[in-house]
């Protein structure tokens, strides 16, 4: 193949992807417009009503936006105490050793487990615990979904954080050690401050994943359509309401679900953009 033909092929493939993304955005938007027209864009965002009764149909996304944010942030909080130590193990303690790459591989393996398997695990392993602790009568709810979500995003947070930790220049660490610092002190005072914004961006990107996680969350969150009263309550995320209801939806309800999808798409895109921006700012 000539250079020119090859280049044309690459351009072709690249523009197909652009067209598909653009087309997706277009069909989401045009699908969502009836809902926005009926309820008004800001009213749709700020209403937590989800009433499919014919004649008095009214839909708003607020409950699911709140559900998504609470579940995801709680997920990040569950993820943090596991992923940060793992990242320190891989990026600092066992840097360059076999055990680090083994641990890295296992963590990456977690990323490959299908969402539904996590959901099953949450259903059969975590839900009974939540029930026996008396935290929720049925064992469903935000508190059941978030830890599973937290475990699911460990690989994304850990492997990128480990990369930032690994990149802290050796001569800075040696400088600290040469003044009598212990490893814990070097981590606390040198490594974490220097890699801090990189680590932060890893968690932002992990948050981006958590926002859209669907299957496991849908199985565990209890699928209630109101704003959750507490983390012990049931609820729905933006992704789980769509997964739950799109099957029997038509007309205004379908349009509203598509509108929720569009919002999720935009929020995720913004979060990812912010994460990448922080990484770029640090020239890493």
């Amino acid at each position: 193949m000539s250079d020119k033909a090859f280049k044309t092929l690459l351009w072709f493939a690249a523009s197909i992807i652009l067209i598909i993304t653009g087309g997706m955005l277009y069909s989401l938007t045009s699908g969502a417009i009836p809902a926005f027209k009926q309820f008004g864009f800001f009213e749709f965002l700020s209403s937590s009503e989800w009433n499919p009764t014919e004649g008095s149909e009214k839909y708003g996304a607020l409950a699911f936006i709140i559900g998504t944010i609470i579940t995801s942030i709680l997920g990040i909080l569950f993820c943090l105490p596991f992923s940060l130590p793992v990242a320190l193990f891989i990026g600092e303690y066992f840097k360059g050793k076999k055990i680090a790459s083994l641990l890295g591989t296992i963590v990456d393996l977690l990323a490959g487990i299908p969402s539904i398997v996590y959901g099953l695990w949450g259903f059969y392993a975590l839900r009974p615990i939540i029930m026996s602790l008396g935290l929720s009568p049925q064992g469903f709810g935000i508190l059941t979904a978030s830890p599973v979500l937290g475990i699911m995003i460990i690989p994304y947070a850990a492997s990128l954080s480990a990369e930032f930790i690994r990149m802290v220049p050796n001569d800075l660490k040696e400088g600290a050690y040469s003044m009598g610092a212990t490893r814990a002190e070097v981590i606390q005072h040198i490594i974490l401050p220097i890699s801090g914004s990189g680590i932060f961006s890893s968690y932002i990107l992990a948050l981006g994943r958590a926002l859209g996680e669907t299957m496991a969350v849908t199985m565990l969150i209890g699928n209630a359509n109101g704003i959750p009263n507490s983390i012990f309550d049931t609820g729905n995320t933006m992704a789980s309401i769509i997964a739950n209801q799109f099957g029997e939806a038509y007309g205004l309800k379908l349009s509203s679900l598509i509108a929720v999808g569009l919002l999720l798409f935009l929020i995720t895109a913004i979060i990812n953009f912010i994460g990448k921006l922080i990484i770029k700012r640090n020239n890493l």
């Binding site: 400088g175 050690y177 040469s178 003044m179 009598g180 070097v186 040198i190």
Partner: protein, 257 residues
């Protein structure tokens, strides 16, 4: 030499260091280093200068598989039997590339040794340590109004003086310097050389250098190493005017290295 009473601060006896078993990067080095003087270590690239220097503050144990045999005594105490952290506080180190901590201000860089070790000091004590240490390296007048700026904003030469101040702040007995001016321009180099001669009063200095004229200008004693062996160790004056070993002479006259 003015001080006629010799006092050894550091004694090396049969020191061997290897990165791979059976292959000594430093081989049977024996030498006494005198207090209050500057001793330079010269030799061609790869002869083991850095390896020897880094053994003195036990930096090697940060990495696996490096073995050290022989005796290294600092202030008559066997450093291999001491707590590594104690050894490192007694033996400060300055590196080839200036390495101020990028997230810390100038002030916090100077005080970093205390922060890192969790040693609490009052604000006044800290202010005093910072001022004295920066005055010691003739950096105080240049930075006293910008102490809260990041250390990395300084020029290369200033950064290196900041790193020297950082090491001095812990009041070490000996300062180990591994080619501290090789990343600097001649003017910055000159300032640091002047500084080191001043600092002799406060701290014993061992400096690895590739720059023979630097060794001649500032050091009282010189070592010449070759392929891991200490070939010659004498007063700088004698080494430069009347080297005893043919290899030293060849190195000093630029025949190799």
């Amino acid at each position: 030499m003015e001080n006629t009473i010799k006092e050894n601060i550091l004694t090396l006896k049969d020191v061997c260091i290897s990165y791979t078993p059976g292959q000594n990067a430093v081989n049977m080095v024996t030498a006494d280093i005198q207090k209050g003087l500057i001793t330079s270590i010269m030799g061609p690239s790869g002869c083991g200068k850095s390896t020897l220097l880094r053994a003195i503050n036990r930096m090697h144990e940060l990495y696996p598989g490096i073995t050290i045999t022989g005796d290294i005594k600092l202030n008559n105490k066997d450093i291999l039997k001491m707590n590594a952290i104690e050894v490192r506080r007694m033996a400060g180190m300055v590196f080839q590339r200036p390495n101020p901590f990028p997230t810390l201000s100038i002030y916090d860089n100077v005080i970093a040794g205390y922060t890192l070790n969790g040693i609490k000091k009052t604000k006044d004590e800290k202010d005093e340590i910072v001022e004295n240490s920066l005055k010691n390296v003739a950096l105080w007048d240049e930075v006293k109004d910008v102490l809260q700026k990041k250390g990395t904003f300084l020029s290369g030469g200033q950064q290196q003086r900041l790193c020297i101040a950082r090491a001095l702040a812990l009041k070490p007995d000996i300062l180990l310097m591994d080619e501290p001016t090789s990343a600097l321009d001649p003017i910055a180099t000159n300032r640091i050389e002047e500084l080191l001669v001043e600092l002799k009063k406060e701290v014993t200095i061992v400096i690895v250098t590739h720059n023979m004229s630097q060794a001649a200008r500032i050091s009282d004693y010189s070592m010449f190493m070759y392929l891991g062996d200490l070939i010659e160790y004498d007063t700088t004056k004698k080494m430069f005017t009347n080297p005893q070993d043919k290899r030293t002479e060849e190195y000093l006259t630029g025949k190799f290295g």
